[in-house]
Symmetry: C2
Subunit: 299 residues, 2 copies
């Protein structure tokens, strides 16, 4: 690997992944570990993971992606699904483990968007929104070909665009957010309220693929809310592409079929109609590669 | 005036304004003319206006702002309220009238946002949305301190973010857009349907200021839709400020009071709660100054 190799880290509520990535996007040594629930296990897991992946390889920078919210200027994170970390100085920890190189921090939503824009389904897009539809809904913007984290680092939070102020309550404390309709658990909850007896989003997608009417209706309702958020963002940000990943996107045509129909129906302005909606090409690696790209751009 | 004087032009459905503006924002000679409905009167009005304002003054660039939609890469405009111009080559016309200097074109919404960011209520904001609430609702983004017109030049169209797909029909052909609730004519139409007997948005604002219940309800309904669009944009674009101008903003506290209440109620995410909502400081000059600023930045 050339001198511009960076160490990329993706911190999530379920697992922490780390890998070496070259300036050309080629991935080197890679490892991941389950995310411990408490300290000091969390810091120890980070230390062990980064040290083992690094194994003495010279790198030019560290790129961190983390579940949010985060405070980019201060380098701290408060991941919703890692309660032990509140205003946790993640940049400082990485600098201590890997001294002497610059450390960048971005949200996992923007990291995934940047990764897809660099090497995946977003290649060639001028202005795009990446969305991760999973237990929550995150996202990130690449505008004029450049990552746009926003002043606080939290841009791309399409999951908490309100599509109906009178809608269901949301994890954020509000009501009627895109996430309250279109996340996996939200679609499952609604389907169960209608009498569907399955357990999770994967079962819901399977049943929808078999034309189960409630499962189909759940995807229709979820994708309409997601489409409303997408079209509003396209109108405001003049997007040419949206790329969608995350666990729920594994439903494939079950998700993308009704989603594209709703986007087409809601996109009335000419410049919004050019928008295309594509699945992630990099899968779960998008975030790690985006963290690497962010570090490469900064170093 | 110094060498960096530019000629700024603001083309709207009601009037065309032009003025000389220095690099420091100081305004020089200025004139405006009613917008003719047909050709060849439109081109003649442009020619006469620009020539008379210029009056031989050496300039370094021309900055055009125009009602949209427009195609920035091609330099053409198709203003909704100027039916005689469809894909009209406005940049080419300006280059013919004022040869030998670069000509920039931006939408009037982004021009107003850029003007306010440069010299008005947006000064010091890192990422802001400017909104013009009038017979329609336009807008523009300044992100990381830089105008963001978007690839097609149409970024900032918050008026056509959908807040309720089952809502009232909108001028864009869709339904439930912010504009279908919060523009002057939309608020007036709704109030009249509830039995209010006034004629226009100014009368509606006057009656709301006198606590007329229907007029108050109309502003409450309109500002809720506008707040929903604002908060969604703040979540996606990580905004720190929104500035609002246009005819309806002359209602002052009648508009800003309920609007700020709705924004506060809907803003559940920490990073969104820092958002402030302010009235334009430059009034109708915002667009002309923003057109000038865009030309200065490009030259």
């Amino acid at each position: 690997m050339d001198q511009k190799t960076v160490l990329a880290v993706d911190v999530g509520g379920t697992k922490i992944a780390a890998g070496l990535v070259g300036a050309d996007g080629r991935a080197g040594r890679h490892a991941e570990t389950p995310t411990p629930a408490t300290e000091p296990l969390l810091v120890r897991a980070m230390r062990d993971l980064l040290t083992s992946v690094l194994a003495g390889t010279p790198i030019s920078a560290v790129g961190l992606a983390s579940a949010g919210p985060l405070d980019m200027p201060r380098g701290t994170v408060s991941p919703v699904n890692i309660p032990a970390w509140r205003d946790f100085p993640l940049v400082e920890l990485a600098s201590e483990i890997v001294p002497g190189v610059p450390v960048t921090l971005v949200g996992d939503g923007i990291a995934a968007a940047v990764g897809e824009h660099w090497l995946g389904a977003g290649r060639g897009a001028t202005s795009m929104l990446g969305i991760v539809v999973s237990t929550g809904i995150g996202g990130g913007l690449v505008l004029n070909g450049t990552p746009y984290p926003g002043p606080s680092g939290n841009a791309g939070h399409i999951g908490h665009a309100v599509v109906d102020p009178g809608g269901p309550t949301c994890s954020c404390g509000g009501a009627g957010c895109v996430e309250a309709y279109a996340s996996g658990p939200s679609m499952v909850r609604w389907a169960q309220e209608q009498g569907w007896t399955g357990a999770d989003a994967r079962a819901l997608a399977d049943d929808a693929a078999r034309n189960h009417p409630i499962a189909l209706a759940a995807f229709d309702r979820g994708t309409q809310a997601l489409a409303q958020g997408i079209v509003a963002t396209a109108a405001v940000c003049d997007l040419d592409r949206v790329v969608i990943g995350g666990g729920v996107s594994a439903a494939g045509q079950t998700l993308f079929g009704p989603l594209r129909d709703h986007v087409k129906r809601l996109a009335t302005l000419g410049f919004v109609q050019r928008l295309t909606v594509e699945p992630f090409a990099l899968g779960r690696q998008a975030g790690l590669l985006g963290a690497a790209r962010t570090a490469l751009l900064a170093s």
